[in-house]
Amino acid sequence: MSTATLEPRVHAPRNYLNADYGWKSWLFTLDHKRIALLYLVSITFFFIIGGSFAVLMRIQLVDPQGAIVQPETYNKLFTLHGVVMIFFFLIPSIPAVLGNFLVPLMVGARDLAFPKLNLLSWYIYIVGGLFTLYSAIAGGVDTGWTFYTPYSSTYSNTQVTAVAIGVFITGFSSILTGLNFIVTIHKMRAPGLTWFRMPLFLWATYATSIIMVLGTPVLAITIFLLALEHLFHVGIFSPALGGDPLLFQHLFWFYSHPAVYIMILPAMGVVSEIIACFARKRIFGYKIVAFSSVAIAVLGFLVWGHHMFVTGQSVYAGIIFSLLSFLVAIPSAIKVFNWTATLYKGSISFDAPMLYAMGFIGLFTMGGLTGLFLASLATDVHLNGTYFVVAHFHYIMVGGAVMGYLGGIHFWWPKISGRKYPNGWAALAAAIIFIGFNLTFFPQFVLGYLGMPRRYAFYPAEFQVLNVMSSAGATVLGVGYLIPLIYLFWSMRYGPIAEPNPWGATGLEWKTPSPPPTENFTEIPVVTEEAYAYAEEEAGHE
């Protein structure tokens, strides 16, 4: 296998990419690796769509009077930005792309347990996406991605039903993915791969799947009820007819708060893999890190009321939700401390994936700590509904989840594509993204603290400097996201051919050729050692 690099390109060994050609071989594939690539292309498409909405918003906010659009249009922009980014990019990002690609490879199996369901989940996702795109073209929707009632059910005359159907349908794609992962991890591990020998990415994916399976159905029924209320006006969420709009928020956040962990947990798994590989060390406190993923998944279900502190929810329920929200900080902090401890005295090399992982740790810590401000009942009264919240969750979702996603893409790109990308460009992109991100979102913390509310098309003139900074940062961030798109595309054709294990990493996925053959392994491997068995005294790899 080590001779693979010496062979001329035309004689590339058979792998999942050259096993078959033509659009049918992609659209009807049951191979988890090809389905992962289908997802990769589609979520990138939605990322660009959602990103364009963000660009328009940041242009609008350069001017206190609003630079380009009327408030009605602005409402639709932030709504569609949220809906597209959350349901069609962030939630499927790491699980559906990297998870699909890696879970069977990491457990040492030939495919996921249910390949047909896996393909079905992609088609469901696409159908849901089409509904959402249709709603955007047919006039948009202006409720915010949270669809709060009674505005969404009674008053809004935009495309609420179409978006609701889109989100409802896409939920099932998420459910099927989670179900597939749980079964695969339980039943298809290679001989010798015990639970505590599993890479932490699998633990994180497992925890994520639990949330997908337990939470998503509740969102589905909630959205279903919302659509019924919107169509028939029977009063379930309408105070005028005896319903309670807060009930919608309870049901909505029962899923949508844990959904934040659907976005961040897999990114944490990716970061664990990268940190261990580029520090050439075992993860410090492996079991604790593994269990903290499950703890985050479970505790994440008990904190949803912190989105409702100032809505008229009972203050006593608020106290309990506040307390429990603080508890989630514990497993999250454990992870950050353990990554740091892993780095301590490691032979660290700063390849591009590592830069993304380091970016993740810094930005996630910022996002997590500001979350504590919002989990406190008293400070939340001041900060609720301001840009502080916007900045906080972007630090988690963009600074955390997207950095983790990009880190993962860079880490496993040689495995996925069989090619290497230019490391210098990748490092440059990581730096630009980090700087652009902070320039975009740090001013928003200040804006929020000063009292600028989110979701407004206009603002008082004294906030202009910070808003222009944020918009300028968004430009830098946009450039940062564009660069990887270009060189990753470039590398697919012109990049140097990757050897099976270019990073010298542990894990079953590196023990098979890059890119892997359709059946993943010629022989099902036998695992004899724990994850991250890096020889610690060795000098760093070249």
């Binding site: 347990a113 749980i182 009063g235």
Partner: protein, 230 residues
């Protein structure tokens, strides 16, 4: 996961390429359907939670609404559905013992009982239209029905009937899907697709059917028996 060579077992019917042996495949199918049922529990769970809140808030209205339903039809339908669960369990057993004729007969019996249930349900739905107590579409209760509903407040009674239709409707949709799956099993079963070694589809559909039965086991007291009929 076992050490048995994959290609030997692959000669068996129905072993998918991603599994090493039939046992691994069966365990995976079984775990998969149970996880699917978990999602179903949470799916109905959201609706049951909303029901619980409103029932607690507007008990009188829910009681009034409940007393308009025909308790005899509800109880009879419960018996019908439990009977279909029995025949379903027996068809799985027939597949286990390799009795193909009995398998097909019990599957058809399950479908017939499911059809009876849906027929009764359709009759009940029609009654609601006759009585003008369909929220959103035809809500104008009058006469004796109005007298039942008025004490709890008409708007809140409308909420009760919304839940009545949402819960039984969602349940009925699951029944229809189940009937489709049963039909598929009958067609495959007649061709002899199931053997005592391979009958996972029968078992999986069976579990789904029993789950739908369980939902009804709760819907019956929660919708028909609120507050008692004394």
């Amino acid at each position: 996961m076992s050490d048995a060579p994959a290609h030997l077992e692959a000669e068996h019917t129905g072993l998918a390429h991603q599994f090493e042996d039939l046992e691994q495949q069966q365990e995976s199918d079984f775990l998969g359907i149970w996880l699917f049922l978990v999602t179903e529990i949470m799916f109905f769970g959201g609706l049951f939670a909303a029901y619980a809140i409103y029932r607690w808030l507007y008990f009188a209205a829910f009681e009034g609404g409940s007393h308009i339903l025909d308790i005899r039809l509800g109880a009879a339908n419960t018996v019908v559905l439990l009977g279909s669960s029995l025949t379903m369990a027996l068809s799985v057993r027939s597949a286990q013992t390799g009795n193909r004729r009995a398998l097909v007969y019990f599957l058809i019996a399950t479908m017939i009982l499911g059809g009876v249930f849906l027929g009764v349900k359709a009759y009940e739905y029609n009654q609601k239209f006759v009585e003008h107590i369909v929220p959103g579409l035809d809500w104008a209760p009058e006469g004796e029905v109005l007298a039942h509903l008025a004490p709890g407040g008409l708007q809140h009674a409308q909420l009760y009937f919304f839940f009545y239709f949402a819960m039984t409707g969602l349940h009925a949709i699951h029944m229809v899907i189940g009937m489709g799956l049963l039909l598929w099993l009958v067609i495959r079963g007649r061709k002899g697709a199931f053997t005592p070694h391979y009958f996972a589809p029968v078992e999986v559909v069976g579990l789904y059917w029993h789950f739908v039965d369980i939902v009804w086991i709760f819907l019956f007291p929660l919708l028909y028996l609120i507050g008692g009929r004394y």
